[in-house]
């Protein structure tokens, strides 16, 4: 019984990691950039949700506002900071991403204060506990898992079936060939950032349901762990990000179940080291074979 309720816990946490890892992975797949500001977009999203809920907006409006703000923020960041650096060395772009992350954290600290603010979960969702064959399950766990799965199905549809999605796949396989096909790469990059950030926007609300204390630094460690999830799953791969996210989530919960809650971060990064040592391309990653 404990095992099952912990499994649900792990799936809930893993869902949140997976949603963020997708944003990392997609952006990396397109422009080979580790967008370290991605976790902080989630943090800003969580504040938007918090303030609009406190202002007693309708829950659906809160959700919409959060997703739109996260998306717009990511597009602005991409246009202002990454686009001018499109032809710069990758290290410069990486450092810029870290800079944007620090900037977002400091701005939030300046405007919203450094200490955590409680997230009014009850305004969004009345917490209920279901008893399911003797297992206690929170309604927020169920909602998180379902929302994540639906998001992933929608994302898969976008990438496989829509025009821009197909262009995304083409760009991630061969940028110059995609340009020769007539793909406007700038649009595809912006679209990718937007899709990734809207998933982070959804993630910010799911995160707040599970950890209802919002502070400017929540994005940092969360982003790092989602980054680990993306690497473990195979960066650049969408199913990889999902698998990586769930792996990390379940692993963390297992560590906590064994009474080692102080060790969760350590174990996650240990997993990263092990993966990098034995299968650096990750679970779903392909070996890059060059055919001449």
């Amino acid at each position: 019984m404990l095992f099952f309720s912990q499994l649900i816990n792990g799936l809930q946490l893993g869902s949140i990691y997976a949603l963020i890892a997708l944003g990392y992975s997609m952006v990396y797949g397109i422009i080979r950039l580790l967008n370290f500001a991605h976790g902080d977009i989630l943090m800003v999203g969580a504040y938007v949700a918090l303030f609009s809920l406190t202002a007693s907006f309708d829950p659906w409006l809160v959700i919409t506002l959060t997703i739109i703000t996260s998306t717009l923020l990511a597009i602005i960041i991409e246009k202002v900071t990454y686009t001018p650096l499109r032809n710069a060395p990758r290290l410069s772009v990486l450092i810029t991403a870290i800079g944007v992350s620090i900037l977002l954290q400091n701005l939030s600290q300046f405007f919203f204060g450094a200490s955590g603010r409680p997230f009014p979960v009850h305004l969004l969702l009345e917490p209920t506990v279901f008893n399911f064959f003797g297992i206690n399950i929170n309604n927020n766990s169920i909602i998180t898992i379902i929302v994540t799965i639906v998001s992933m199905i929608v994302l898969t549809f976008i990438v496989k079936r829509t025009r821009l999605g197909k262009a995304m796949r083409a760009v991630s396989q061969d940028l110059d060939a995609a340009r020769l096909m007539g793909v406007n790469v700038n649009n595809v990059v912006t679209f990718t950032f937007a899709v990734g950030a809207s998933l982070a926007g959804i993630g910010s609300i799911l995160y707040a349901l599970r950890f209802p204390l919002i502070s400017p630094n929540i994005g940092g460690i969360l982003g790092l762990k989602a980054f680990v999830a993306a690497i473990v799953g195979g960066i650049g791969s969408i199913p990889g990000a999902m698998i990586g996210g769930y792996t990390i989530g379940i692993l963390e919960v297992l560590v906590i179940t064994f009474g080692l809650s102080g060790w969760t971060d350590g174990v996650v990064f240990l997993l990263l080291i092990i993966v990098l040592m034995f299968k650096p391309t990750g679970i779903m990653g392909k070996n890059i074979a060059e055919k001449v």
Binding site: K166, A167, A177, A178, L180, G182
Partner: protein, 233 residues
């Protein structure tokens, strides 16, 4: 159809294409021949907008395209089959052709797909297979088929013979001739000078970024200097 006037292209500080000018007349096959590193591929990339020239003009259908975005150039009917084929290896043959049609109106898709399938029946047989599982020759056919999805006015082919068996090379060159008969103007870049001169009307010989010789292909085939340098004596 295409007129390149006095272009200069740099890779960082390296001046790789120097004052190159040439013209491709409508209905012709024109080839650029030369050894590795002569600047042939660089010129094609610059025409399709992937690289930029520091000077000069590139006129396509009398319109200056030297600062035009690559996607607009393709849309206007200038297709480029890049060196090394560059098909999307993880995507199916069908999806590759779909990408080739990216800039075109939906209504033309079926008709063009049929056109490509009749030209390359092998692609139809393998339409569901990932491009990475095709042989080199089939990948070259796919690369050409993908470029044909825009029904180009001008088709640029970069080393279509590279890495192919002699029999396949003949097959690919027959296809190129046939496409030309159908009214597609062709700009061909080749290291295989003999094959290129045999099917083209006009050729330019490049050496370390400069045009050192040009003329109609028949007379270049007889030219002694060209013979020793490029045709194996």
């Amino acid at each position: 159809m295409l007129s390149v006037e006095d272009i200069n292209i740099y890779y960082g500080n390296i001046h790789s294409v120097k004052n190159v000018s040439f013209t491709v007349e409508e209905g012709n096959i024109v080839s650029l021949i030369g050894a590795n590193g002569a600047g042939k591929s660089t010129i094609l990339k610059t025409i399709s907008g992937i690289m930029r020239s520091k000077s000069g003009k590139i006129l396509f259908k009398n319109e200056n395209i030297e600062n035009t975005e690559p996607y607009k150039i393709v849309r206007n009917g200038l297709s480029h089959v890049p060196e090394g084929r560059r098909v999307f290896l993880g995507q199916s043959v069908y999806e590759n052709l779909e990408m080739g049609h990216y800039t075109q109106p939906k209504s033309t898709f079926k008709e063009r797909l049929e056109f490509v399938y009749t030209k390359f029946p092998r692609l139809k047989e393998r339409r569901k297979q990932p491009a990475g599982t095709l042989s080199g020759g089939e990948q070259q056919m796919l690369a050409i088929g993908r470029a044909l999805m825009v029904m180009p006015k001008l088709l640029m082919l970069d080393e279509p013979s590279m890495g192919l068996a002699p029999m396949l090379i003949h097959q690919i060159f027959d296809i190129i001739k046939d496409l030309n008969k159908k009214g597609i103007t062709i700009l061909l870049v080749e290291q295989n000078a003999k094959m290129a001169l045999n099917i083209s009307n006009k050729a330019y010989v490049l050496e370390t970024g400069k045009i050192i010789s040009s003329g109609d292909s028949k007379s270049l085939l007889q030219d002694n200097i060209i013979k020793t340098a490029y045709l194996g004596g």
